[in-house]
């Protein structure tokens, strides 16, 4: 026989209190431990939708199911292939970051990246010609990466001839382009000749070389690398230095042993080792792979994607299928390169917020004290940021852990209801692109999604929930 009510009557009460301080004070006077909630009302007008979604009897099981699926994914790098082959991309089709958008509304960096990709693909002789063709839109298709199991950082443009990483767990697949480095690069909207030349080298030399290496190697456990990098000062979004070196260490013997020309090998190693963000394009598909496993669980309020196209910020939620809930992308707050300032920055852009969606990046800020200044703040701010994210998430990641928080698992699984109830928005660490096409990177910093993404998702969840 177990005690009824979980032993309520046989335990010394410990109370959690939300509401009038007076009642919590009365408990403290009785020497009762009281955990007080800093409660604030949710935005006016959301009460009914919140009640309906919170009262959805499917919700807690659906969320447990979705998160169970997400956390069970073990991402491995299995191949490197041209996008035309891996993603079935036809000439004239371009993938981009964030929710769907057309040329008309596309921001500067996205336009710049598309112009560069047109030139790369040989669909235009010059940037001017490319721009005209894109504006005309004939025989050009723009699609979100997310719709094809792919992700791309910043502009996130993937064209058929680019090579992509293929990350797998069983039959699941996720893809991401290869990282080009920092500064004037396509993903930040630069499309100058050196940008195109580098992309050509990546397709001609780097991609095939990495394909040889990866195919010879056992699948590379990216989850294990992410676990380790978080303990080495990376957060997996704005700092990927340890992850990049861990990955390079893993493939280096096979690279040397590949039989490729030693000059190519040396160039490839120099390229990877010289780019602290190389691993970002491996971490992102690892996160994408995990989150896609949590999609389409009816009643689940777990966010499975956050992505920006430079104009709109969009989220997708497990219980609402492929619908995007969007709001205007915000301009990040942070530090600027050289003489650039806030007026030069484009609004938030890129699929890289998939890292935060999966519990790393800004959510693991406490793991990366080395970059807190870079993104504007002190170490204490980093700890506070990660701790705050536990308020809006449903789980602690079993293997992604933060040493300084006593190896607590990172906050994982953003819950739409918690975001709306608390008004706490996910914290995203991000790079900043120049708003004029062709500029490249202008800085890095912190940004939040617009709150309306979450209230819109809540409304859709409420419409799909049974009445109370």
């Amino acid at each position: 026989m177990t005690e009824p009510l979980h032993g309520l009557l046989n335990r010394d009460p410990v109370v959690a209190a939300a509401g009038a301080d007076l009642l919590a004070d009365a408990l403290a006077d009785q020497a009762v431990p009281v955990e007080r909630v800093d409660w604030r009302p949710p935005p006016a007008g959301t009460e009914e939708a919140l009640a309906r979604v919170m009262g959805d009897p499917r919700r807690s099981i659906a969320n447990a199911t979705a998160l169970g699926l997400v956390l069970a994914v073990s991402p491995h790098l299995v191949d490197v292939r041209p996008a035309s082959e891996a993603l079935g991309l036809e000439p004239g089709t371009f993938l981009h970051a964030g929710p769907p958008i057309d040329w008309e509304r596309a921001s500067g960096p996205l336009r710049g990246a598309l112009i560069g990709a047109m030139v790369l693909e040989g669909l235009a002789e010059s940037p001017e010609q490319a721009e005209a063709a894109l504006a005309a839109g004939r025989e050009i298709t723009l699609e979100p990466c997310h719709g094809r199991a792919a992700v791309g950082p910043m502009a996130g443009v993937i064209s058929p001839s680019m090579w992509v990483f293929e990350v797998a767990d069983g039959d699941r697949r996720a893809y991401c382009s290869l990282n080009e480095g920092l500064g004037k690069v396509l993903r930040y909207g630069a499309y100058g000749p050196d940008v195109i030349e580098r992309l050509r080298w990546m397709s001609a030399v780097l991609g095939p070389l990495l394909q040889t290496v990866v195919r010879r190697h056992d699948p590379i456990d990216l989850g294990a690398i992410i676990t380790q990098m978080l303990q080495m000062g990376d957060e997996g979004h704005n700092r990927n230095r340890a992850g990049t070196l861990l990955w390079l260490r893993e493939v280096l013997p096979a690279l040397i042993d590949s039989g490729a020309a030693t000059t190519d090998v040396a160039e490839a190693v120099r390229f990877v080792a010289g780019n602290d963000h190389f691993f970002l394009n491996l971490g992102m598909p690892a996160c994408k792979l995990a989150l896609d496993a949590g999609r389409d669980v009816p009643g689940s309020t777990v966010v499975v994607a956050m992505a920006r196209n430079g104009t709109d910020f969009g989220i997708q939620v497990s219980g609402t299928g492929d619908a995007w809930f969007t709001g205007p992308a915000q301009v990040p707050d942070g530090l600027f390169l050289g003489a650039y300032g806030p007026e030069d920055a484009n609004p938030d852009i890129g699929d890289s917020a998939i890292t935060e969606t999966a519990g790393i990046g800004g959510f693991a800020m406490a793991a990366a004290p080395a970059i807190v200044r870079f993104v504007g703040g002190e170490v204490a701010d980093a700890l506070a940021a990660t701790r705050l994210m536990y308020e809006i998430t449903l789980a602690e990641h079993p293997s992604y852990q933060v040493p300084i928080l006593s190896f607590r698992g990172t906050p994982t699984g953003i819950d739409v209801t918690k975001v709306v109830r608390t008004g706490i928005l996910p914290q995203i660490n991000t790079g900043m692109a120049g708003k004029v096409a062709g500029t490249g990177q202008v800085g890095a910093g912190l940004v939040n999604p617009p709150a309306e993404c979450f209230t819109a998702a809540l409304t859709a969840l409420a419409d799909a929930a049974p009445p109370l």
Binding site: M1, N10, D12, D29, A31, V32, P33
Partner: protein
């Protein structure tokens, strides 16, 4: 080393002041603070204390009563079909954990067990009082266990008789703290760890984990109480 509990002796009674996570004697004033905060730092044995008006003051420590608590109660309903087998299991657990009584205590506990069977007068229980060392001597802990088991496992009449036979000797033979705890045991009140073993014997909760928690109390106190419970349970089993 910091004191881990404060015992305040008034005219005849002792009150314990303990941290909220410490072993909760039924005579305890429980603090909101935990052991880790060293609530009794700076106090030393023999110091004067003031008790009254809802307060206990000793040194820099001032304790104000915030509420009353009830010692955990043993379930009233004993399941006779469980008692005999669970008593035997308690004996096996104590053997397996190699927790035995000192020879002197064991001998007198055996005599008390015989007395409960009617072979001696129960006043033989007096021989256990004050036997052993420390604030709560082993013999007292055994006797507490016997009283508790009789009270809660179906022989309250026998508990009353035993207590009537020994009560007069308690004050003169043992420490004031131990005497107070014996009186509480005679009323049926004990540390929650012992109450849980009683609930286990009565068939209301798993026995083995409860016994392990009781054995962890004090250096030998928990073990001594457990042996007493065993004696009392055997006398109560049909």
């Amino acid at each position: 080393m910091c004191p881990s509990a404060l015992y305040v002796q008034t005219s005849g009674e002792v009150a314990a002041v303990v941290a909220r996570d410490a072993v909760r004697l039924p005579i305890s004033i429980v603090l909101a603070a935990s052991t880790a905060s060293l609530p009794f730092a700076g106090l030393s044995a023999g110091q004067f204390a003031w008790v009254g008006g809802g307060r206990v003051c000793a040194g820099d420590l001032e304790v104000r009563v915030g509420r009353w608590w009830n010692p955990r109660q043993a379930p009233a309903l004993v399941r006779p079909e469980h008692l005999a087998s669970r008593t035997a299991r308690l004996a096996r657990i104590l053997r397996a954990r190699r927790r035995s009584l000192s020879p002197a205590v064991a001998g007198r506990a055996g005599r008390l067990a015989d007395a409960l069977d009617g072979r001696h007068p129960v006043s033989t229980g007096v021989d256990l009082i004050g036997l052993g060392e420390g604030l709560t001597p082993s013999g007292d802990d055994v006797l507490s266990g016997v009283l508790l088991a009789l009270r809660h496992l179906g022989r309250p009449d026998c508990a009353d008789r035993l207590w009537a036979a020994v009560a007069g000797e308690v004050r003169s033979r043992t420490t004031a703290l131990s005497a107070t705890l014996l009186a509480a045991a005679a009323d049926g009140d004990a540390v929650p760890e012992a109450v849980d073993v009683l609930a286990g014997l009565a068939g209301h909760r798993p026995l083995e984990p409860a016994v392990d928690r009781l054995l962890a109390v004090g250096a030998t106190s928990g073990s001594d109480v457990a042996h007493g419970l065993l004696v009392g349970a055997r006398a109560s089993a049909p």
